[in-house]
């Protein structure tokens, strides 16, 4: 863990969306920081608010959403009051985003070369030939064969894996400090996924770019992340170094997630997998109790007495739970009983 100033510091990030007769609160106070060269994974399932968090950091929230935060600092510059104009200058230049679906993230009407040149022209004053040179340089860097041909091609002429590499190349064009990758490999085949992830990691090691990796796949996290932030119901429920959280998941949600993933070589074939009964609740109003209460096998009375704060369980491993941090004190049969009760 380097002691250099973080590239990104976010605290108290909240997103509210007014709907017909109430206010949705999909993000309820998130703290994230990313240091130089660090990969922070935001992990969660659908409805946890991770994608909205990413959009909020990029200034890309939908019009009707309201964003509040105590702090959004990019390399010391405060962005919480940034104008749309300032955001437009930053996006693509200092912060870049890689989206999930390579099919729809590239404009099908324009050639690859034109799309890349457009990014450069927006943020740097470069000549056409300089833009072309830089584009070629990056296409080579991301391992695309015959880059000169690719520049003239349209997105539909490239495979999914190549398109994703192009997206990474486009993200790197202006040498950003931070890249936010939202499920960058979910739509790709497994063997391609491994290649793309290696590529991202190699580039990051070489350039010191900070990476926020948003995913639901804990396997991807295990291979890539330095730190993990687990989100549930719009809140951070657990955070810490990747190895620590995976080896000792403290929050019952993280515990439940880990128990439900089959791992060839570890879980026996046909063994009953753990699961988390219930569904994600709709997030309106302020939380006056633990957001995971209905689905938690360890729930008891004190979980409903007021909102639960995030606390340090030792060595920077944060958890939002009233249970004692050390594994002992938890009933090992609790999950089994809980699953049976819900069937």
């Amino acid at each position: 863990m380097s002691m250099t100033a973080p590239i990104l510091e976010v605290s108290g990030l909240k997103v509210e969306i007014p709907v017909r007769d109430t206010v949705l609160r999909p993000v309820r106070g998130i703290d994230i920081s990313v240091a130089k060269g660090e990969t922070v994974a935001i992990v969660g399932e659908s409805g946890c608010g991770k994608s909205l968090t990413a959009l909020a950091i990029m200034g890309l929230l939908p019009r009707q959403a309201r964003l509040t935060s105590d702090r959004i600092d990019l390399n010391g510059e405060s962005l919480s009051e940034a104008s749309p104009r300032r955001w437009r200058k930053l996006r693509g230049d200092r912060i870049a985003m890689i989206f999930q679906d390579p099919m729809t993230a590239l404009d099908p009407c324009y050639r690859i070369g034109d799309q890349m040149a457009e990014i450069l022209k927006q943020h740097r004053k470069v000549s056409r030939s300089a833009a072309r040179e830089r584009s070629l340089e990056l296409l080579r860097k991301v391992g695309i064969p015959s880059p000169e041909e690719r520049l003239n091609q349209y997105p539909h002429q490239l495979s999914g894996g190549l398109r994703q590499r192009v997206m990474i190349a486009m993200a790197l064009l202006c040498e950003p400090e931070l890249i936010i990758a939202d499920e960058p490999t979910t739509a790709l085949d497994v063997t391609i996924q491994a290649q793309i992830l290696r590529l991202l990691r190699d580039i990051q090691r070489e350039t010191g770019i900070g990476l926020i990796l948003i995913t639901h796949d804990l396997g991807v996290v295990a291979g890539m992340a330095d730190r993990i932030v687990v989100m549930y119901g719009g809140e951070v429920v657990e955070a810490g170094t990747c190895d620590e959280v995976l080896a000792r998941p403290l929050h019952p949600y993280t515990e439940g997630l880990m128990r439900s993933i089959p791992v060839p070589g570890e879980t026996r074939r046909g063994e009953t997998l753990g699961f988390i009964p219930g569904v994600v609740p709709r997030q309106t109003g302020d939380l006056t109790r633990c957001g995971f209460l209905e689905r938690c096998p360890y729930a008891h009375a004190s979980c409903a007495e007021g909102s639960i704060a995030l606390r340090d369980a030792g060595a920077g491993h944060l958890m939002r739970c009233v249970l004692p941090a050390a594994g002992s004190g938890r009933d090992p049969e609790a999950w089994t009983r809980h699953s049976e009760a819900s069937s």
Binding site: L293, H300, H338
Partner: protein
Amino acid sequence: MPPVTHAPPLQIAVSPTRVAVGRALRHGSFWVGGLIILVILLAAIFAPWLTPYDPSIQDLGQRFVAPVWAEDGSWAHPLGTDGLGRDYLTRLLFGARISLMIGFLTILISGTIGTAMGVAAGYWGGWVDLVVNFIITIRLTLPVVLVALVVVALIGSSLSLLVMVIGLLLWDRFAIVMRSATQQLASREYITSARTIGSSTTRILIREIMPNIMGPLIVVASIELAHAILLEAALSFLGLGVQPPNVSWGLMVAEAKSQLLFRPWMIAVPGAALVLLIFAINLVGDALRDVTTPEGKA
């Protein structure tokens, strides 16, 4: 420590139709347009009871009576009388009957033809699609008003013939929209599932495809209703639509042509009625479009 349990939420079955109707009822345009159409509809249905006069009986002693807002007008003839002494308000009410009836009947015909063609083209694709596209293209090259005029001039213009002619000309938008709506559905997995459980093609078309293209169908129907009413008005204006003793708003406008400078209300009244009706239909159509488009978001 006893686990905290919670009861599953009570769930009322909410069909997509209910959701759509609910949304429509909350939509301002729907109310405004719907109310106007309802008023016109009721006036048309109850026309014989709303007026003591007969729309076609002439009373040459009462020609060109002024409407009630003019100096020598009276409530005996609120909208005055026309050149043949017929009460104008009565003619307006009875004209509404014809306009609405022709409108609804023609979209029934054109809707059936167009939907059948569009769904067939969208579902089977291949040469069925080619043939349907060919027919649509030919139909699109025909100038509708001219063709209608020619047909009516050649064969005559009874009401039923008029309905047939317009119905057989205005099906193209139905076909085009239903075709693309069906195409979008044909690849959905619930259609594939219906096939694998052994559903016959008829059953698939009726149970799986039709209910799911109702949204666009209703929207197109509202557009084409307006279209049909205007077409009839245009034909009647040209003298080749509704014939006396029947009355339609288009015919009223035609008969009042010569009075444009002296008694402008005689054109303005049926004209305004047409505008109001078309406006209301468009409002409702807009509302339906908004209601049926954002699918999937509860």
